[in-house]
Symmetry: C2
Subunit: 340 residues, 2 copies
């Protein structure tokens, strides 16, 4: 996976150089989603859980299967909806029994999550395999005991057969970890190349002049010092929990033990309102303004804000074609859902 | 639309005749989903809301769009999940704020709903256009005021443009009724031809000998007197609310004002547990037994129950290929969801 590096001084040096803008952007650490399939797979694959077509197909089914949850109603896609930019579009994740995330945390997009250095707002998990185990169990999300997930999957012959194929193991009895692993494999494929990637790859016409001007502002003002790499985000950064960061006090989230918070990807940002860890801001312009104040310590002019917004909209990418999976039927051995 | 006729005496006459079994089945009123597209469209179309490709595509987007709901979280597909037989797989429909249907009513499948004579368990609506307006507004389902639905749709340029195209009306400002209408058009296309249809159409090998024996039992025991037509159900029948119908007292549902209840379709019945208006029974065998007792007044032998179940499983149909729709992004004019 890409190791993301933040290059404070280099950012500004690049911004002032006479290099072509795309080269400047790359010099700051911004990187395209590879067009070449082999390169892309090298970037998204996990050697401990290698991608294959059977895992992707099975992972997609499980990603969309609400029966993994305690209630039988909440699938991964409920909070990370592939139809709406990979998010749920509400401030705080809401799931089992209509409970909300106890720290008032917003559901991050699943699209391009594979490119992040860490998972969760406090970066506590290293990869999607570890991440996928969390929401399945979290009481306000899917609220399922690992034993419930295992009982559901093992009670449905279509799933057991698919696991055996995917892992070339005729004796396989899928565990909770196996379920999380194939869901993660599916999620690894959810990447959305955009016009910006073509621009970085050398196609000058892929961005309009206004979008290029926005990219220049984005670099010069220093946004790129956190929003960089392939994810255009995804690293850990200090989290100013007091003072100007006016939304820090919604919920009780204070970042990780060192006060660090994960930088959200800016890919598809136009589709993933509301913004910030607490989903407190609905307008992209307002979000840009606040980030200027709290993270960069500058007051961005309305023109700068508009220009950056124009660039950010060029990051809306092409979503993978998703054939909605038809799921194998329950059997008399499948646990009965528990809505309480 | 098909007018469904129940032919009490004819059922038994047909059952005793020397006609080939498929002909007997048709003589009782059972009818196939037409293979011929022109015939099928004649059957599923509504002259007051004619099908066209643009309405189908737009209706699919809206069917999957949770932003139509008050909370922004509940789409039509939440309770009528196309991935799981067109149902939610829980006893009582559950939606906004985790409320349950106040009469403890189970979500019927959307697949083949177009073939039903009436919509809702009490048959109060004549067609899918009328039906689709209900759950969008119902407080324990999507809980949306019509004005909310209209505000959402009109705030998203991609939707307004799609309505204008679908209705060839460049001045269109979509109303709540228009939204329900295009959703209904999409639902009209959700039909699932099965091996049983090919059998009725003359392909004797489409059913196994055991399935044919099950069909014979189904006819001879009288199940077909209610479960008939193309829907293999979908008409209104007396609802024995007392005595042997042991689940009548869950919730307070008593059928329509004449004590009639809608007969569920048996298509895809193997995928749509739990069963009955109150979702009280999880086992298909148990459901068959109880229907024998309460609706037919007979005690079916375990062999008869197993035989009927074998036939019913042949009604699992081929689902339409569903490309998961990517939805146009919200704008600053889109109402902010209200989770309360």
């Amino acid at each position: 996976m890409l190791k993301q590096v933040t290059l404070g001084a280099a950012v500004f040096a690049a911004a002032l150089s006479a290099e072509p803008l795309a080269e400047q952007a790359k010099a700051t650490g911004m990187a395209p989603i590879p067009q070449n399939t082999t390169e892309l797979y090298k970037l998204i694959d996990n050697p401990d859980n290698p991608i294959n077509a059977e895992k992707v197909a099975l992972g997609k089914q499980l990603y969309f299967d609400p029966r993994l949850s305690k209630s039988g109603l909440i699938s991964c896609n409920f909070c990370h909806n592939l139809a709406t930019g990979g998010v749920d579009g509400v401030p705080a994740a809401t799931g089992h029994k209509w409970r909300h995330n106890p720290h008032h945390l917003n559901s991050p997009t699943v699209y391009n999550a594979v490119f992040a250095d860490r998972q969760f707002w406090d970066g506590r998990d290293p990869d999607l395999e570890a991440q996928a185990q969390g929401p399945m169990q979290a009481p306000p999300e899917m609220a399922a005991a690992p034993e419930h997930v295992e009982a559901v999957v093992n009670s449905i012959p279509g799933y057991v057969k698919a696991f055996k194929h995917a892992y070339s193991n005729p004796d396989m009895k899928p565990t909770f970890k196996d379920v999380a692993d194939v869901i993660a494999v599916y999620e690894r494929t959810l990447v959305t190349p955009s016009r910006f990637d073509r621009y970085l790859d050398g196609c000058d016409k892929a961005l309009s002049d206004k979008e290029k001007a926005g990219l220049k502002t984005f670099i010069e003002k220093g946004c790129v010092s956190c929003h960089t790499g392939v994810a255009i985000g995804g690293g850990m950064q200090p989290f100013p929990a007091v003072g100007k960061y006016k939304y820090a006090d919604i919920g009780d989230f204070r970042g990780d033990k060192n006060g660090m918070v994960k930088v959200p990807t800016l890919r598809n940002i136009d589709e993933t309102a509301p913004y910030f860890h607490n989903g407190a801001v609905w307008s992209l312009k307002e979000a840009i303004e606040i980030m200027g104040e709290t993270q960069l310590g500058i007051k961005l002019s309305p023109e700068d804000v508009a220009s950056i917004e124009t660039f950010l909209k060029s990051l809306t990418g092409k979503k993978p074609d998703v054939t909605f999976p038809m799921l194998p039927a329950r059997t008399d051995a499948t646990p009965i859902p528990d809505l309480n």
